[in-house]
Amino acid sequence: MKENLYKGQNCIIFGVNTFIGKIVSKYLAQNQVNLGLIDLVSHKDKEITNNLNTQNKTIYKTVKSGNEDNMINIVEEIHQKLGDINYLICFYYIDDLQHKIKPEDLTLETWDFLFQDWIVNYFLVLKAVVPLMIKVKKGRIVFFITTTGYTGEGEGEGEITLSGSIHECACSSGITGMMTSIAADIIPQGVSLNGIALGPNYKKDIDQIIWAVNLWLSGLGEYSCGQILRLY
């Protein structure tokens, strides 16, 4: 893309403190996008803002997990300061997930934690942002999940590499279904929602992830509805 399609656009990033969140934020900041950065934890604020080094507007907010009112208020505040929201990108702590939750973990508590932190918060941030996009009849949304939702586990279809957990798998495939239904509901109103599924070795090919983000944000995927790019 020779022309900078992103200059002056506004983007909310949910899960900015994640590995990919930081990289994508930096990439968009370099492309002169105004950023509303939201996360569940606040301890990395300075690291994020220093890392971005942008002249564009940047707002950082911490949201309480599973709190609808809090999410709506934060999104509204970002909306008032930045203007219409063009993009929403949602990340989760996939790296932490794959290190902290062991594959043999079959506890109900782990499920409850992940269910709220990942699925419910993706739903809530959508609930807060989508009505604003519908008002202006435009918006592009990208969800990040992992490939375990398709393959069970592993890097390629049918392969087993023993990564991920039963909880991660259920969340990823559950979000896929949620996304498919919501994408169909909102595409007639000018808002697209698509996804990117990361494999276990996603850190090795950042360019590939940026390429996928560009596909969904640039408009090339405007006619895609609830589709997921699987990056094995």
Binding site: I119, V120, F123, L126, A170
Partner: protein, 263 residues
């Protein structure tokens, strides 16, 4: 379904096995319970509603008891644990788990309320996860297990996001368990349905303000077979898969919607 179609059946093939069916008093669940009892399994009938009547009905068919009511709310972690404690008093675990419970939910996005979303997804997804996590723990120990899921196709439109989140999770989940626990002889299977002539689908039709019989007729016509799958046929498919012994027949997703959709 005639007797010829059931020629694969091994009499009392599941004798000594314990089956837990969730959503057991609905149209599909009821038939599954009856079918698995017929295969010789002892069936725990789980539903948020009272399930004693169905247990009594099944027990009258046989000389020995083959069913017990476990009326618990699977969206509650506490209640699921209580239910398993009750089952574990008499058994070493659950051998066959059929995750069939679901509520359809209502509301397009973004109108759907947070409470409605949570209510539906906690039953459809978290409830199935709670049962699956506990059941898998014992299946691993016992080196035998069958976990089945009643799913829905991803390509469906007009289905609430909370419902589809739960149903689609099963497809990945079944694949995961089949791979992770294949050496523990745990097999999984997801049966993906679009429409099935059950009380739930009739409630959905009515909720859309349509005449129920006309609505059901329209749904029958949507299927390229000219009719929706019946609860008895669904139960028969689960029964067939419960007898599969090969690890290759695991993690499968079978779309049985008469050609309406694609996965």
């Amino acid at each position: 379904m005639n007797k010829k179609k059931m020629s694969y059946e091994e009499k009392n093939a599941l004798k000594g096995k314990v089956t837990l069916v969730t959503g057991a008093t609905g149209g599909i669940g009821r038939e599954i319970c009856k079918r698995f009892a017929k295969l010789g399994s002892f069936v725990y009938i789980c539903d948020i509603k009272e399930t004693t009547e169905l247990a009594n009905y099944i027990n009258k068919q046989y000389e020995e008891p083959r069913a017990m009511a476990v009326p618990y709310d699977i969206s509650s972690k506490v209640e699921v644990r209580e239910m398993f404690q009750k089952i574990l008093k008499k058994n070493n675990g659950v051998d066959v788990l059929i995750n069939n419970a679901a509520v359809h939910g209502t509301g397009d996005f973004p109108e759907i309320s947070y409470n409605e979303f949570l209510k539906t997804i906690k039953i459809d997804l978290s409830g199935a996860m709670y049962c699956t996590l506990i059941a898998t723990t014992y299946m691993k120990k016992n080196k035998w297990g069958r976990i089945f899921f009643t799913g829905a196709p991803l390509s469906s439109s007009g289905i609430p996001c909370s419902y589809l989140a739960g149903k689609s999770a099963f497809i990945g989940l079944a694949k995961y368990i089949s791979k992770r626990y294949k050496h523990d002889n745990i097999r999984t299977f997801t049966l993906v349905l679009r429409h099935c002539d059950t009380p739930m689908i009739r409630r959905v039709v009515k909720g859309r303000g349509k005449d129920v019989e006309k609505g059901i007729e329209e749904l029958n016509k949507k299927s390229k077979t000219g009719k929706m799958i019946t609860p008895e046929e669904v139960a028969e498919i689960y029964a067939y898969f419960s007898l599969a012994k090969s690890p290759k027949i695991s993690g499968l997703t079978l779309l049985s919607d008469g050609g309406i959709t694609y996965l």
